[in-house]
Symmetry: C2
Subunit: 134 residues, 2 copies
Amino acid sequence: MFLEINLESEIPIYTQIRNEIIKGIALGQLVEGDGLPSVRQMAIDMGINMHTINKGYNFLKQEGFLSIHRRKGVVVNGPDKYRYNAAFLEILTENLSPIIIEAYTRGVRTDTIERVIKKILLSVSVPVEGGDHD
Amino acid sequence: MFLEINLESEIPIYTQIRNEIIKGIALGQLVEGDGLPSVRQMAIDMGINMHTINKGYNFLKQEGFLSIHRRKGVVVNGPDKYRYNAAFLEILTENLSPIIIEAYTRGVRTDTIERVIKKILLSVSVPVEGGDHD
């Protein structure tokens, strides 16, 4: 498995599982139709409680990234299932606000924030200049 | 008190207290030397458990935003106490990564992300063009 989980982190493990799977999709390591291990198998592979895996999978299901089929198991959805909408942009604003306001309060300049974001996007292989990937 | 706390939110209340006080500093509503209510008083004012207030204050103390004096009580620090350093930029990158990667995966363009960030900075009164506020 490519999931990097840090058991020492303050970030809940189910959130880390969720974030790692989204990152896998961003990187193209997981594409539409790919199967993921069952909750039970993932729990065994990672040595993590089944409830934790289930919670992570359930968020990803609600958010459109995964489907959980009775027969096919856990399957990665296509982009149409998780494409952003206006509601997501509001959540994005809410999630970014405290982080950006703290950085500003600590004296981080806008261009430094933009540089950090470009570095993050580069880490999932988006060209620095372009925003058009769709 | 100007603290807006949402008891229904998934964000822990101590984190909301922390974020609201940092926002108060960003907005200039709280400046160096200003006193904040004691843990006990804040707990009474807000109808929130003392341990929760204490946890929020303690994070702000560790992060340099507040001092807790035996005599003077809870006091807002000056910018030199919470100015960012290289370690903060690493934490910033870590905190922004999952949010930015999710937005990218959902098809949000880089310029839309930058527009959201400018809107957030405008909400604490930073001119859209400038990054120099110090």
